[in-house]
Amino acid sequence: MSGNMKQYAFFLGCIAPNRYPGCEAAAIKTSEKLGIELLPLKGASCCPAPGAFGAIDLKVWYALAARNIVLAEEMNMDITLICNGCYKSIYEVNEILKHNDELRDGVNEVLAEVDMEFKGSIDVWHLIELYYDEKICGVEKVRASVTRPLTGTKIAPHYGCHLLKPKKERHFGDTENPMWFEELIDALGAESVQYRNKMQCCGAGGGVRGFDLTHSLDITNEKLINVQEVGADAITEFCPFCQLQYDRGQVEIKEKFGQEYNLPVLHYNELLGLAQGMTPQELALDLHAVDCNSFLEKIV
């Protein structure tokens, strides 16, 4: 790699590598074209899931997230990741432990058992914010990397929850109607569309998908109704868990509620991959529960 590449430890999480590996492959390849090199964070685990794990014991959540952070500290490298759930665990625990002595001491007491220590020496970034950040990449650089513009497609943005919220513990500003993701979508030649209640949750988080699937899908269904209403060809997001909820959720919604949408759901990195000329095979789009062909036919 050239000396101009910015290097990050790539925290994978669970759902991207183990359910939608196209997201992982696309993140690595598309970032390379934008001057960002993603290096494996060897031995990382589940972030662990903030809803499913933090909900029952925050102390264990702090400690296991800290272990993942320390792996990157040992590489002397900032972490980047492609999932909002992972962002909540890894970013938030990193910030909390940097600023809360009592909690940090508690975590370090546990980490000492495995010969580790949280030092607070690195930062954590979502890959999407690196793309948007002019100092690292920026929208124009994304636009310049496009070789197959997604012209003629209408795409609904889903921001998800845990990257932007709670806003006072984040740095993304407005959480009622942000528009920066739309800029990144439009940069691919696509047309981003607005829909009712854009910022509503996908319904999967907080362990609700596992606890009460019908309730969880009912939230998803409301979002799908709103997205369909404006004639979107696809939904895009930057969270594999939201992706799973919208993608597999459509199959479950059809079974449970009898409603059918056939709305392709693509991670922004998959979308960027397509726009940079990657084939559907290189993105393993066949693993998606909802057939992506209706969308692909519009761009070839």
Binding site: A52, F53, H162, C201
Partner: protein
Amino acid sequence: MANVKDYGNAELEEKLSDTSYYTTDSNPQFLEDVKKISRTAANMCFQCGTCTGSCPSAPRSSYRIRLFMRRGVLGLEKEALNDPDLWLCTTCYSCTDRCPRGLAPTDVIMAMRNLAFKVDIVPRNFLKTVQLIYKTGHGVPNNDVNRAARVKLGLPADPPTTHSYPEFIPGIQKIMDFYGMKDKADRILAEESK
């Protein structure tokens, strides 16, 4: 001279100094525990209902986050922890972003869930995640279909996580054992299957 304001009745004064006097179910320590774990000043809630109005779970269930906030303030521990609605929060943080008191109701719910787990009140899906992470390092582990797909993409069959480096798993288990989390999950699930 300081103006002393009281009822002039020692017995009544004592009763009033105990804010939980009006219900035997109230546990003032509950509010303190919630505040400590959630790191938010839950006692400052003035019950405006902006949280419930922002909640995606509210329109489709009996879950009312404002009610849980009130239960916290009133120390109604059992009422809060025994209510299955506690687990319908998707942790979307809309209420937290909109709370006019600057509180984090979402984190209050998380704290109450932590306190529920302490007394073995927990939906079973949460415990299964614990067991999976203990065993594999992942809450959603790899499978054969996915391994084949990864290889086609030019990725290693297993990602460079604990899946490729299982030597890291004992460290994860040690951390979880420090808090007795896996034993507790096993015990609760075993009691159930009897």
